[in-house]
Subunit: 360 residues, 2 copies
């Protein structure tokens, strides 16, 4: 268990690392950010950082000496980096989780193993196996690389039979899975947390809308029944428990139409704080970032009660220029990640609009 | 007007500077902390700091070169430091405010000049003038140094005539004022903010309870009538306007019994974020810290609506050891300032307990 004044090492210096560092500061903990990018926005919000490659063992050794525990802001940390650090101090969440979530096939099999439904899928190793899978499963379907995909990268939507030819090459001829297209009504997500004592909590269910395959808005509460919401929270908590997870995780779920017997299917999980949990900053006393830091520190988890209804809007690229308007709107927060360069499609900040909870 | 990525210099590296820096980070602004104390808790939460005396002109010059605007966390900044910086870049709030608030006599006269009531007072320059003032005003009364008093330091309570002898020496034989003791019912405070465009806002009125002359709890809403609350907010806004103030300020007020015609009298003001505004962190979308940074940056002020009722409790000295309990309590935040050493009477952190607003 950490004490105030101890230091948490964070691998990754983007906005998630930055917001984790800010939350740690609120709790009286120090942070040390490790990231190869000299322009890392998280470097600005702490006195301690290392700018070095994830393969630089000398830098990793010094980093390990300077912190008491390590966590990370993204799931694609190179496995040898985690193994190197793990021999020296606790790295949380454990890398067994990375092995599960870094590979879509392993992840889907994990969901099935704990009785969480997924779309039908097939393992794809070649254009031939893709052709066979399409014949067996039908179209439409999604072809996705097994590893290193996010925000719609490494994916092809196969609508008609003509789309199948060359599709395996189009995603880089890498190991992949074919997933049945799911006629979902809504996309929702659950943010859950677990600590080393086995305490598990989850937040209210959020409804997500994407634009150009990047999260655009998150609305809480989601427009779903209480029963579906309870089931979704249970899925988040079950995943955390099944993985002996320590920290915050997100599970993205699809809500199927009422004609389906089991209406929730898991799309994917992220073993980290998640964009669809940014609303917790403005609508809960304990944000997902603080919750993650509490778990990593070995501290009790916090209250997840929502005090307000909320809509989170991502500020992508030039959206950050809406600053003046967002600063002026009532009941609206403005959060900028302090990134030096605005680029198309780059997450630059977000805004939360809150309103009182409607009493039912 | 600052842009995200610009840097605000903060004079003072205590908990207030630390919380201002955290708020600036949320807005995408960088901070540079200047403080002579090598153990400054604010140094931990930003990449940029200078540890040097306030008289060190070389260090001040380099500091001025590295930031776009300067603000401060405490009102007793040496005047030459502010003058040095002011020649080079904007220092906010302006030092005319410091001149008013650093001297209890000037401050009281300022309140009177804008028709804000104060306790009766007399200028005291010697034991003889103290004796005369006691004869004219009667007892009980408070003898207070004109400058550099806070948390009850530099004050003597004169209850009986025997307490008067030697009292001027007891406060260090410094210029002082004698204030009539006010039989107040409650101590309340207002946090107000103003920006360079003249926009003025204030927060809901807080009720403060002190223990050993240090703030113990702040409760919002205060147990006062709507009329008194509106009048108190008006006082805060009037002070900000009269001073052409830029930033957040606090005015401490005493509420007199109903038998008095004008029930609110001003005790003192603080030209900075204030301990009695820490509740805004957990019960408002825009905290006093963010509000101050917005004003200093030349940005629009934020919404001050309170979304929850709240009790803030200071964690003084060993109170910080209540961490485990506070982290576990429902609807309770825990905030530690990350101070290396726990000392009796030292502000180590605070905790906010929120509950839904009772609808009337």
């Amino acid at each position: 268990m950490l004490n105030p004044g101890d230091t948490i090492g964070i691998l990754g210096g983007g906005q998630l690392g930055r917001m984790m560092a800010l939350a740690a500061s609120q709790l009286g903990l120090k942070t040390h950010i490790y990231c190869p990018d000299p322009d890392s926005p998280a470097f600005d919000v702490t006195a301690y950082h290392t700018c070095a490659d994830y393969e630089d063992e000398e830098a990793l050794e010094a980093f390990a000496q300077s912190v008491q525990r390590v966590t990370y802001e993204f799931e694609n940390i190179p496995a040898p980096t985690v193994e190197f650090l793990k021999k020296r101090l606790p790295v949380l969440p454990d890398d067994n989780v990375l092995k599960t979530s870094q590979d879509r096939l392993t992840e889907k099999k994990f969901f099935q193993s704990i009785d969480v439904k997924t779309a039908n899928f097939r393992d794809i190793a070649s254009q031939e196996s893709l052709q066979e899978a399409v014949e067996a499963m039908g179209l439409p379907a999604m072809l996705k690389t097994r590893r290193f995909g996010y925000d719609g990268k490494g994916q092809v939507f196969l609508k008609k039979i003509e789309d199948v030819e060359g599709a395996f090459d189009a995603i880089g001829a890498q190991p992949a899975i074919l997933e049945s297209f799911v006629p979902f009504e809504r996309e929702i997500s659950v943010i859950a947390a677990r600590n080393e004592k086995g305490q598990v909590v989850s937040y209210d269910i959020a409804e997500n809308v994407h634009k150009n395959q990047i999260l655009d808005t998150t609305t809480v509460p989601a427009d779903i029944s209480e029963g579906v919401a309870a089931e979704a929270r249970k899925i988040g908590e079950k995943v955390a428990e099944a993985l002996d997870y320590i920290g915050v995780l997100a599970v993205e779920l699809f809500l199927l139409p009422e004609t389906f017997e089991r209406r929730l299917i898991a799309n994917e999980m992220a073993p980290r704080v998640h964009n669809s949990g940014h609303w917790t900053e403005s609508a809960c006393l304990v944000s997902q970032f603080e919750q993650h830091i509490r778990a990593v520190a070995g501290w009790p988890l916090g209250d997840t009660t929502r005090h307000s209804d909320v809509v989170m809007t991502n500020l992508i690229g030039d959206d950050i220029e809406r600053r003046e308007e967002l600063l002026t709107n009532p009941a609206t927060s403005f959060h900028s990640y302090g990134k030096a360069e605005t680029r198309d499609g780059r997450k630059m900040g977000h805004s939360n609009h809150i309103k009182p909870i409607k009493s039912s």
